[in-house]
Symmetry: C2
Amino acid sequence: EAAATTVRRLSLYLRFLEQSEAEGVATVASTALAARAGASPAQVRKDLSFFGSFGRRGVGYSVPLLAARLREILGLGRRYRVILIGAGRVGTALAAYPGFAARGFDVAAIYDVAPALVGTRVNELIVRDAARVEADLAAVPAAIAVIATPAAAAQAMADRLVKAGVRALLNFAPVPLAVPPGVAVSDVNMALELEVLSYGLKHPAP
Amino acid sequence: EAAATTVRRLSLYLRFLEQSEAEGVATVASTALAARAGASPAQVRKDLSFFGSFGRRGVGYSVPLLAARLREILGLGRRYRVILIGAGRVGTALAAYPGFAARGFDVAAIYDVAPALVGTRVNELIVRDAARVEADLAAVPAAIAVIATPAAAAQAMADRLVKAGVRALLNFAPVPLAVPPGVAVSDVNMALELEVLSYGLKHPAP
Ligand SMILES: NC(=O)c1ccc[n+]([C@@H]2O[C@H](COP(=O)([O-])OP(=O)(O)OC[C@H]3O[C@@H](n4cnc5c(N)ncnc54)[C@H](O)[C@@H]3O)[C@@H](O)[C@H]2O)c1
Ligand SMILES: NC(=O)c1ccc[n+]([C@@H]2O[C@H](COP(=O)([O-])OP(=O)(O)OC[C@H]3O[C@@H](n4cnc5c(N)ncnc54)[C@H](O)[C@@H]3O)[C@@H](O)[C@H]2O)c1
């Protein structure tokens, strides 16, 4: 099972390949993919060989072939309905972010419990009462839910979502979520990103 | 030079060690560290050997020793002043996030260009006019800046910040930033996090 860090690298390789495709480049070397993803060429070859053989030594990887294969491996051959739980700062920033739709993730609904927020407009969406989550999911399922609530509400909401059929959660709340096997959870933590920078400050790249 | 993906794993190992320390656990095995960071035990041993030898086979790693060493490697032995550029949804969500101060990152100021926002209160801070960034940094330097502006304003602001002495940027804007060597940049992209989930949906963990 590829770990989240491997999958993030695959996403970065795919970005680079899509850019190369747009520039009409036919093949890329593992060194170019490595530079893009902050990995070593050996790591690139290891990542890609996990999923089958793609490149030939000395020639590199075929851009269209590898891009199509990575899209398939990452499950990007389809679009996903995404629902946002919490219409506060994080929730509304995500609802407005064009980067999701561009990658096949359609934000379909945004929910909140605050009476002052329910019924207000966030971009193309109207904030719905969180009490309706289950009924809405029974009518039209969603594969992914983003939890952007305060920490205290996160686990209870995760339980409701999993029970209603959601199988993947992007969690912003600063609490680890307990979910049954078969449910994917990705925790977002900006403090971790800052630690990447504090490392960079201590060891400046040449 | 350790890549960003390695450094993120080190941060996750440190989280786990700190939790173990709080629970009074004296040693941990590489398998426990691996499970926490979504890596393999061999990857853990490789990551840690890069920085010197810590554990003994069969005995595991000393929790206090390894935690102290990782804090030093990650540059967490000190506190960092962080400034936020952009007091919109992302900027204000970050200003309010307790996770930063807990890890040694003190949000010292938040800037915007919109007259309606300058002078308003965001948590403990008052939004300052972005025109004052250089003068403020000349008076009190900051190591890290977070760019939470629209894409169009991001590069120009990055140039100003680097010129004023900032050496690390956390970039939310959906544009790659061009910076001179020696400046660390970490791009945040939530679409990448969703791709980790779409992979998880296609390959559910057992
Ligand atoms: N991981 C990170 O890097 C990071 C950064 C900033 C904020 N956060 C976290 O993200 C979360 C959201 O932050 P924010 O700044 O948007 O907070 P916010 O207070 O602006 O928004 C939270 C919203 O959730 C709503 N809510 C509360 N309970 C709910 C429920 N049961 N169902 C639906 N909605 C509910 C509230 O009414 C509010 O509108 C917090 O947990 C915060 O700690 C994380
Ligand atoms: N990477 C991700 O996953 C992700 C998710 C959501 C949003 N975003 C991006 O983050 C950025 C901020 O998003 P948001 O929702 O907070 O937008 P927003 O419009 O709510 O806030 C942007 C703020 O920047 C201010 N601003 C504009 N030019 C400036 C300048 N030169 N100096 C200082 N401030 C300036 C604006 O006045 C505004 O208040 C956008 O680029 C958006 O695309 C990224």
